[in-house]
């Protein structure tokens, strides 16, 4: 975070480059998750209100209540109010889908933008390396720490200092690892989108067992590489 202007020879290879405070990306990424929860809950409550008006709740009132609640809910996954409309698993799935799709789109765009000066990738491993080094540095400002593969289409990327988790912390016993999980879904989508843009269909799963580390597992879908 800085107000100082960047000194000239910033980026000779890319005259279109612009600078953006990394804090704004941080804040945007932070807000994506609670926003996805809010939108999902709002959609669910408005659709349930229209589909079953017999419950007697007026949709406009409901949305007003939602508006009012917004402030308080802010960053908490609003589990309590969700239970009324969606059960936990449904909510999780729906939020995951929302974030993952957004990430997918971002990943696709990023690859088009940043692989334009490269030659075609020879094989899947080259693509994964590009992902681990170049793309990871672009999005998370560091490279992946460890890459493992079973040479049968499964790649495991370990980042011991996953950027979005670097400042994640709760009071002792605050279930930090559990609450960190939704913050992996957008990056999952970015990875999957990036791979898709480079011609690799894959499923991507991520998990963390201890902050600030994160492990991404990429399973390429056979016959597509």
């Amino acid at each position: 975070m800085s107000f100082e202007s960047v000194m000239p020879p910033y980026n000779s290879t890319d005259p279109t480059a612009r600078f953006l405070s990394s804090s704004s990306l941080d804040f945007l990424l932070i807000e994506m998750v609670p926003m996805a929860y809010r939108v999902t809950n709002q959609l669910a409550s408005s659709s349930s209100a229209t589909s079953s008006p017999s419950t007697g709740s007026d949709p406009t009132i409901q949305s007003q209540i939602q508006e009012g609640k917004k402030e308080e809910q802010e960053r908490e996954p609003p589990a309590a109010s969700a239970a009324v409309v969606l059960d936990e698993e449904e909510l999780r799935e729906s939020v995951f889908f929302r974030l993952e799709s957004i990430g997918y789109r971002v990943g696709q765009g990023l690859v088009e933008r940043f692989s334009r000066d490269r030659t075609r990738f020879g094989d899947t491993l080259d693509v994964i390396k590009f992902l681990c080094k170049d793309l990871w540095t672009l999005v998370f400002r560091k490279q992946v720490d460890n890459l493992k593969t079973n040479h049968r289409g499964v790649y495991v990327l370990t980042d011991n200092q996953f950027r979005p988790f670097s400042r994640m912390s709760t009071e002792p016993g605050g279930q930090a690892v559990l609450r960190a999980q939704p913050f992996l879904w957008l990056p999952c989508g970015i990875v999957r989108g990036a791979l898709a843009a480079m011609g690799i269909q894959a499923t991507v799963q991520a998990e963390t067992t201890e902050l600030p580390g994160a492990v991404f597992q990429i399973k390429t879908i056979a016959g597509k590489n």
């Binding site: 804090s23 941080d26 804040f27 802010e74 960053r75 994640m168 912390s169 709760t170 960190a180 913050f183």
Partner: protein, 160 residues
């Protein structure tokens, strides 16, 4: 230098964080009868109730002093610290209306810089940029996280 305690008040005037440090074991003799917000010899043993009362008293004091200073010295004047026979209170107010208060021994020089450092290096980094911490810290929610606590403790102990 000894640092006795540290408080953060949000823009709704609520005390969202407070922390006291044990004084170095030697000099517990001098503090016997003092004002409402007492340096640690006693406040270590104070109950939760009275420590929240302490926070309220401190806020009342700094709030009035700040307003008084502005009335007397104009809007640009800032209240920085005051001292009593027992302790010195340092005050720092951010542009976002967060108020940081630190109680130290009387011989300590200005802690304005220290409070500013706490604000930019600990508060902004570990509370504001913490994805698991809410925007508003009602009841101190999200402030008392491990990274902030650890960072603050290290920083303050490094000064003492």
């Amino acid at each position: 230098m000894a640092i006795y305690s540290f408080y953060i008040f949000d823009r709704h005037t609520e005390c969202i964080y407070s922390r006291t440090w044990l004084p170095p074991p030697a000099p517990p003799s001098q503090s016997s009868a003092d004002g409402p917000h007492i340096p640690p010899p006693q406040s270590q043993t104070l109950s939760a109730k009275s420590s929240s009362d302490n926070a309220k008293l401190i806020f009342g004091t700094v709030f009035s002093l700040r307003n008084m200073v502005r009335k007397l010295g104009g809007d640009d004047d800032a209240f920085i610290s005051f001292r009593t026979a027992q302790y010195k209170l340092h005050y720092y107010e951010t542009a976002s209306n967060l108020r940081l208060v630190m109680l130290t021994d009387t011989s300590t020089l200005s802690m304005r810089n220290v409070l500013h450092q706490i604000y930019i290096n600990l508060w902004v980094e570990y509370v504001v940029k913490n994805p698991l911490s809410p925007v508003e810290h009602k009841g101190g929610e999200g402030v008392r996280n491990e990274m902030f606590e650890m960072g603050l403790d290290q920083f303050v102990r490094g000064l003492m």
